[in-house]
């Protein structure tokens, strides 16, 4: 029973990882940029939500209406102002710029909010659970998993069925041809980053509601999100969902063996996938 419980809890944890990872997957899918500031943006979103709750007393979930648009705008600005110019200098430059952003972000957060651990209060929701055949499942974890699936379905529909989504995929496939068709490449990239960072904001606030976070927590977020993307398969959003779930299960089952081995088990599953199936579990199953 303990093991079944560990797997179920892992699936729920995996929902959180998948939610955190889809922004990373989208930015890489469209622009081939690995955004090392990903984790810091998630943690910054959590701090922004916390600050709003403390300053205005607004309900925790309502902060999403502010945090997501603000972070999406930040994403747009980062792409237009920093990543687009960096792309002109080759593939190394965006990586270095995003690393610089990550260092600036983490240290600014530390300066403003101190290194103390915080959590966004969601009242009784954090402790309420439903019972399923003798197992207890956290309501908030279930909600996170549902939101993760919802975001991924939404992104897929958006990319495949809307005008802008099609333009984004066209830009991804062939930027020059897309430009000839009248698509503004720089604007498309910025929109993609805005959407991606918007999902990061959502994921960050959910993270802040479920666990203690601090300015350096972004490092772990980045690593876990990255592992989910690679385990699932590059360029596939469904793969990212699967990757998140696999990573979550690996960590909780590892922790069931010995609490010290949770994170390590996740890393090892990642390395094993890399060794035997480097293209990931669901490589390019669906265009993203």
């Amino acid at each position: 029973m303990d093991w079944i419980n560990a797997v179920l809890q892992g699936l729920l944890l995996g929902g959180q990882y998948a939610l955190l990872a889809c922004g990373l997957s989208l930015i890489f899918g469209v622009m081939r940029i690995v955004n090392l500031a990903h984790g810091v943006l998630a943690v910054a979103s959590a701090y922004l939500a916390l600050w709003l709750v403390q300053q205005t007393g607004m309900p925790s979930f309502l902060t999403l209406l502010v945090v997501i648009p603000v972070l999406a705008a930040v994403g747009y600005a980062i792409q237009r102002g920093l990543f687009n110019p960096a792309l002109r200098h080759g593939e190394l430059s965006p990586l270095l710029v995003s690393f610089g952003l990550a260092v600036i972000g983490a240290n600014l957060l530390q300066e403003v909010f101190t290194a103390d651990s915080r959590k966004i209060s969601i009242g009784t929701l954090s402790t309420s659970s439903v019972e399923l055949g003798g197992l207890r499942l956290g309501v908030f974890s279930l909600l996170t998993l549902v939101v993760a699936v919802g975001v991924i379905v939404g992104l897929q529909l958006y990319l495949s069925h809307t005008r802008i989504g099609r333009a984004m995929r066209a830009t991804k496939d062939d930027p020059e041809a897309a430009t000839l068709m009248g698509i503004d490449e720089r604007h498309m990239y910025a929109l993609a980053t805005a959407i991606a960072v918007g999902t990061v904001a959502l994921a960050g606030v959910f993270l802040g509601m479920s666990t203690q976070f601090s300015p350096t927590y972004g490092d772990l977020v980045l690593i876990f999100a990255f592992e989910a993307v690679i385990i699932g398969g590059l360029g596939s959003l469904w793969g990212t969902l699967l990757g998140g779930l696999v990573l979550g299960v690996a960590q909780t089952v590892g922790a069931q063996v010995d609490p010290a081995y949770g994170v390590l088990a996740g890393h090892l599953v990642f390395l094993v996938v890399l060794l035997f199936r480097p293209q990931g579990l669901l490589p390019k199953a669906v265009a993203a």
Partner: protein, 338 residues
């Protein structure tokens, strides 16, 4: 060195270096001689210990540049080998009983050996995903080190081999070891870059696909620099450990080292031998000056690094030398007939 491409009047000359490079090299040699003589009449023991940090930074920058600047491999996980070098030197000195200088060099060699199997795993990833993959490996190194029996868990290890050695002898040993290793690492990089492998690496730096099409063994060259650079990171880690006398998982395997290396190389000039040395000196000076500002100093460094990447992608050395001057002549220049 002069190579005649044609004979007869109006001969084009292909030259490498020349007296300006010799002069630059002479200045550097003079600085090294000064540094070798200085501890006993200029610097306090505290300064001498600080300078060991500078030498370790030069090694770190040079090694990271060899990998990223020439090999096109951006790793953000070299702290794996910094940590392995740090823990390795303590085990080699305290348990195996090697003398400190030998233990430091052996720790570097162990890191290079560790990097070889690691490379077969990580080379399945390219670009940015290679970068984060190296970080995952560094985290695995850290977590495994914490769990291994005899490695002190979360609190780490202390170096005991220096017990009973008086402070001046200890500081002098570490200082001269660090200075010698920094000089050797820079010279070894220079020799490597002048070799056939180096020529291939320079081609990889400029255009990987074109290099491969001209017969450069890109994968093999990248593996060589990855292993060499990891050995360098291990040497630096070992020096940091014998200088600080203790190691802990969180400090030795900190991703902060990667931030430092990137700043040093990017600010100094990616893909040059001089760049990382200049970058390390600037970084070290800023660190000494701005240490009291705490995190703001890292915020400023991040901003400067972004500005340099976008506005002066060849770094400060690239700005100053404009690609025409090299202290370490690696490239060839065509001179018009005289």
């Amino acid at each position: 060195m002069t190579v005649n491409t044609r004979t007869g009047p109006g001969t084009l000359k292909v030259v490498r270096g020349g007296w300006p490079s010799l002069a630059g090299g002479g200045v550097l040699a003079a600085i090294v001689v000064f540094l070798a003589a200085a501890p006993w009449f200029v610097f306090s023991p505290g300064d001498v210990t600080n300078l060991v940090t500078l030498f370790a930074l030069i090694i770190l920058g040079t090694a990271w540049n060899l990998m990223a600047g020439y090999g096109g491999l951006v790793s953000i996980g070299q702290q794996a080998f910094i940590g392995a070098g740090g823990y390795g030197v303590i085990k080699l000195a305290d348990v195996v009983g090697l003398p400190i200088p030998l233990a430091v060099v052996a720790a570097g060699a162990v890191c290079a050996l560790l990097a070889l199997p690691t490379s077969f795993l990580l080379f399945r990833l390219v670009g940015g995903y290679f970068a984060i993959g190296t970080w995952v490996v560094a985290e695995v190194f850290k977590l495994v080190t914490q769990e291994l029996p005899g490695f002190g868990g979360g609190s780490g290890l202390s170096l005991t081999a220096f017990q009973g050695v008086d402070r001046v002898t200890r500081i002098a040993t570490v200082y001269y070891l660090a200075l010698a290793l920094a000089v050797l690492v820079v010279l070894a990089t220079y020799v490597l870059m002048r070799s056939r492998i180096g020529l291939g690496l320079t081609a990889i730096r400029d255009d990987k696909v074109a290099a491969a099409s001209l017969g450069v063994a890109v994968r093999r060259s990248q593996r060589i620099v990855y292993v060499a650079a990891s050995g360098g990171a291990g040497l630096a880690g070992a020096l940091i450990a014998v200088n600080g006398l203790r190691v802990s998982p969180d400090s030795m395997f900190s991703v902060q080292y990667t931030a430092f290396m990137i700043f040093i190389v990017v600010i100094g000039g990616l893909g040059t031998i001089e760049g990382p040395i200049l970058g390390a000196v600037i970084f070290f000076a800023l660190q000494q000056l701005l240490d009291s500002y705490g995190t703001w100093y890292l915020v400023a460094l991040g901003a400067v690094a972004i500005a340099v990447v976008l506005l002066a992608p060849r770094g400060l050395w690239g700005l100053a030398a404009r690609g025409r001057y090299e202290i370490f002549p690696v490239g060839h220049t065509v001179r018009p007939p005289t």
